[in-house]
C-alpha cells in the first residue's frame, strides 16, 4: 500500500489522547500555585520538544539530500510530514509569546520588568532578552523554517506527478536543502537561547545550542523508528525492511553517544573550571534534582549504549520499539530537566515577592537550602506524562494527516531504486 489513509479509528484514538492531554493540562492548571508554574512549564516543555522534532526532521532531510544519501528515500515522506508540524508548533509558541506580553506566566525571569530593574546582569542582556526580540525571533526563525519545510515538501510531492528524466525537481531540492543547512545552524542556536536557555536567565554556555540540537535529533530518530514500525504493522511501507531499520538504529546509537559527548563536554568543563556563575546550573540540578540529573544519563546513554551496541539488536523490531520508547522518553526528560529547575526558581522568587508583606526574605532562605520535593518539578508526575501523550497525539495527528495527502513512496526520486535495494553490509557476519 503506497497510499496512507488516515482511518477514523486512528483518528479517534489520537483525539482520545489529545483529550487526555487537555484534561491533564486542565487539572494541572487547577491544582497549581497562583502563578500556574507547573502548567506553563509543562506547556513550554512540550511545545519546544515537539517543535524541535519537526525542525530536526527538516534538518535531517536537508542534510541527507545535500550528502546525496539514497537509503532513506523510502522513509523520507515521514520526515516531510514531521517537518510540517512546524506550523502548529509556531501556533503553540505564540501562546507562550502571548504570555510573555500579557504576564500570564512567570517562565522567564527577564520578562519581569520589576526584576530587571533590580538586576544589573539582566539589564546587560535586556537588548536580547526582551519580549520584542522573543516575539520577532520566534516569528522570523520558525517562519523561515516553515517556508523551507513547505517548499521542500512541495517539490518532493510534485516530483511524484511531474518528475522528469533529468530529475529537475531533485536538483532544485538540493539547492533548497543546502541553503537550509547554514540557516538551521545559526537560527536554531538563536532560538534555543531564547526559548530554553533564558529560563536560567543568568546562566550561559556556548555549547548549549548544540547540546539541545543533539537531544532533538535523537528524539526525532527514535520517533521515526516508532512511526515506521507502527506503519509497517498496519501493512504500509512493505519495502522498508530490517536494512533500513538497521541504519536508523545506527543513527540512534551514534547520536546517543554524541549527545553524551556533548553532555560530558559541557558538564566537565564547567565542573573543572569551577566558576560559580557557571557551576550553579549543575549544582542546583545535582543537589535538588538528583533523579533528573542522574536519570538523564542512565536513560539517554547507558540504555541505548548497551542495547544498541550489537548489530543484531538494531534489526529486531521488538528491541527497537523498546529502546526507541526509552530514548524518546529520555530526551523528553532531558528537556524537562533543562526547563523545570530554572523556571521553578524564578517562580519561587516571584511568589516570595507577591507575599512580601507576609514574610520578606523567604526566597533568599529557600535558595540556600535543599528544595522540597515537588511533583511535576523534582520528577515528572502522571499529569506530565498525560500532557506529553496529548502533545504526542497532536503531533501524530498532524503527521498522519499530512502523510495521507501524498504517496508514501516518492515515485520519481532518483534514489528510489537504491533505497528499494538497500542492503547493510555486516562485516564478519559469515554464514548469512
Amino acid at each position: 500500500m503506497n497510499q496512507f489513509t488516515f482511518e477514523s479509528r486512528y483518528r479517534n484514538v489520537l483525539i482520545g489522547f489529545m483529550a487526555l492531554g487537555l484534561l491533564c493540562l486542565g487539572i494541572t492548571f487547577a491544582i497549581d500555585d497562583e502563578l500556574h508554574t507547573r502548567f506553563w512549564t509543562n506547556y513550554l516543555h512540550n511545545s519546544v520538544f515537539f517543535t524541535g522534532i519537526a525542525f530536526m526532521a527538516l534538518f535531517i532531510l536537508a542534510a541527507f539530500t545535500t550528502a546525496w544519501a539514497g537509503w532513506h528515500t523510502l522513509i523520507k515522506r515521514i520526515w516531510e510530514a514531521y517537518s510540517l508540524f512546524l506550523v502548529p508548533g509556531l501556533v503553540l509558541m505564540l501562546v507562550v509569546i502571548a504570555g510573555v506580553w500579557g504576564h500570564f506566566h512567570h517562565l522567564y525571569h527577564w520578562a519581569d520588568a520589576g526584576e530587571v530593574a533590580k538586576d544589573p546582569i539582566l539589564q546587560g542582556k535586556s537588548s536580547f532578552l526582551n519580549p520584542t526580540w522573543y516575539t520577532l525571533g520566534t516569528l522570523i526563525i520558525v517562519g523561515i523554517w516553515i517556508l523551507f519545510a513547505w517548499k521542500m515538501r512541495q517539490l518532493s510531492v510534485d516530483e511524484d506527478v511531474n518528475g522528469t528524466p533529468e530529475f529537475k525537481h531533485h536538483h532544485r531540492l538540493r539547492i533548497w536543502a543546502a541553503a537550509f543547512l547554514p540557516i538551521a545552524g545559526f537560527s536554531s542556536a538563536a532560538i534555543i537561547w531564547q526559548w530554553v536557555m533564558s529560563v536560567d536567565a543568568h546562566w550561559y554556555s556556548t555549547l548549549y545550542a548544540w547540546y539541545t540540537g543533539a537531544s532533538w535529533f535523537v528524539s526525532a530518530i527514535a520517533l521515526t523508528i516508532l512511526t515506521i514500525i507502527f506503519l509497517k504493522g498496519q501493512g504500509y511501507l512493505e519495502n522498508v525492511t530490517a536494512e533500513h531499520l538497521h541504519d536508523l538504529g545506527k543513527y540512534l546509537f551514534a547520536f546517543s553517544i554524541f549527545w553524551t559527548y556533548l553532555w560530558f563536554s559541557q558538564f566537565m568543563l564547567i565542573w573543572y573550571a569551577n566558576v560559580g556563575e557557571e557551576t550553579v546550573y549543575f549544582f542546583e540540578r545535582r543537589e535538588n534534582y538528583p533523579v533528573l540529573f542522574y536519570g538523564n544519563l542512565i536513560i539517554n546513554f547507558i540504555a541505548p549504549f548497551f542495547v544498541l551496541m550489537r548489530n543484531d539488536t538494531k534489526r529486531k523490531y521488538g528491541t527497537m520499539v523498546f529502546i526507541s520508547i526509552v530514548v524518546f522518553f529520555g530526551h523528553w526528560w532531558d528537556f524537562f530537566q533543562m526547563i523545570k529547575p530554572g523556571a521553578r526558581h524564578t517562580a519561587m522568587e516571584a511568589l516570595a515577592h507577591h507575599g512580601a508583606h507576609e514574610g520578606a526574605g523567604h526566597a533568599a532562605e529557600t535558595t540556600g537550602h535543599a528544595l522540597e520535593f515537588a511533583m511535576g518539578f523534582t520528577i515528572p508526575g502522571l499529569l506530565e506524562l498525560g500532557t506529553m501523550l496529548g502533545f504526542l497525539a497532536f503531533f501524530l495527528f498532524v503527521v498522519f494527516n499530512r502523510l495521507s495527502r501524498a504517496s508514501l513512496v516518492p515515485k520519481n526520486d532518483p534514489y528510489l531504486q537504491e533505497s528499494l535495494h538497500h542492503h547493510v553490509e555486516i562485516h564478519g557476519d559469515e554464514g548469512h
Partner: protein, 469 residues
Amino acid sequence: MSAVVSQIREPLIQGGKTYHQITEDIVSPTERAPGLAWVVAFIISVSALAVYVFCVAWTIWVGIGSWNLNRTIGWGWDITNFVWWIGIGHAGTLISAILLLFRQKWRTGVNRAAEAMTIFAVMCAGQFPLIHMGRLWLGFFIFPYPNTRGPLWVNFNSPLLWDVFAISTYFTVSLLFWYTGLVPDFATVRDRAKGLRRKIYNFLSFGWTGAAKHWQRFEALSLVLAGLSTPLVLSVHTIVSFDFATSVIPGWHTTIFPPYFVAGAIFSGFAMVQTLMVITRKVLKLEQYVTLAHIESMNKVILVTGTIVGVAYLTELFIAWYSGYLYEQFAFANRVLGPYWWSYVGMMSCNVLSPQIFWWKKMRRSIFVTFVMSIFVNIGMWFERFVIIATTLARDYLPSSWSYYTPTWVEIGLFIGTLGLFFTLYLIFARTAPVVAVAEVKAILKSAGDQYTGPDAHAHEAAHKAKAH
C-alpha cells in the same frame, strides 16, 4: 553496499578501467625513477628538514630563552604549531573511519594518502611539546610509572597529560589502520617486482597471498580498527581543546570548545588533503581515480566545516557579550579590536568568508580555486590557533603584565622545519607505496566505475553486443 546505484551519481573511477589497468596505473609510479619535479621537491623538503634539526639543536643548546616567550605569554608559536598539526592529522582517520560508516564511496580515492598525511602530521605535532620541555632528554618524565624521583608522579588532573595518552593512542591506531590497508597493496607491488625489491615488499606485506583466510582476517581487523578510530578521531581534538577550556582564562574557558575544535580539525585536515592531492594526482597522473567528483566532495566538506566553525566563532562572541562577565567581554573585544586584530581578520576571512566561494559548483570543480583555497584554509586555521593562544595570553587579568609577542628566528625555523619533515615523509611515501588504495578502488569498480554507473554507463550495452555475437 547495494548493487543498485542511482544514475544520478557521478562515477568515481573514470576511463573504463579494468582491474589490471588499475594496478598498472597506481603501482607503476613506485617502479619508475623519480621525475624532476619530485627530485626538486625532495631537495627543498630535506633542506627545510635540515633547518629543523638545526633549530632544535639551537633550542636545546641555548635553551627556551631563544624563543620569545615571556612570563605573560608562555605559549606562542610552539603550541600554535602543535595544535595546527594535530588538526591536520584528523582528515585521514575521519575519512577511513567515519566516511566508511556513512558509506561514502569516494573515500577510496583519497583515504590512503590522507591516512599517510595524518601519521606524518601527528609526528610533526608531537615534536612541539617535546622540544618545549627544553630538556628533551627528560621527556620520559611524562610517562606515569613508579620512579625514584620521590616517587614523583605525573599530574593526572592535567589535560596536558590526557593529551599524551590521547595522541599516542591516536597515533598508534592510525598507524595500524594505515598499515593494515597497505598490506594487500604491498603484496601487489611485490608480485610485480624482482630481486631485492621483491624481498623487501614481501617482508612489508607479511607474506600476504590473498588467500580467503587472509582476507577474512583483514576484514575483521579493519572492522575492529574502524570501531576504535571513530571515537578516537573525536577524542584527540576534544582533549586538545581541554588544554585550554579547563582553565579559567577568559576566551579559553568555553564549553563549545570540544566539538568546535573537532570541526576545525576536520576543516584543516581536508584542506591539507586537497593541497596534497591536487598536486599528487597531477604528477602521478591519477586524475581518473581522484576525480573532480572527489575534489568537489571534499570542497563541500570544507564548506560545511568552515561554516560550522563560523557558527562557533559567532556563538563565542555572542555569549561573551551575553554572559555579562566583564573579563569575558574584554577578552573577545581584545581579540577582534586589540593589537592582534590582524590575526582575527586573517582567521575570519580565511576560515569563514573565503570558503563560501564553494557555494558555486564551478568553483568547487576548479583545480586552481581548490588549490588556492586549500592554502587559505591552512593559513586561516593556523591563525585561529594563534588568535586563541597568543592574543588571549597577551592581555591577561593584570594590565601591568600585558605584553606583545613576536617569534624569533628559531621559532620560525622550527615551524618551517616541521613542514620540511612533513613533506620529506610524504614524498618518500609517494615513491614507495601506492598512493591510492588499490584493493579498495578495485572493490568499488563495479558500483562506481564509469562503465557501470552514471548517465553514460555502457557496460550493459557491451554485454548485449557480446550476447548478440
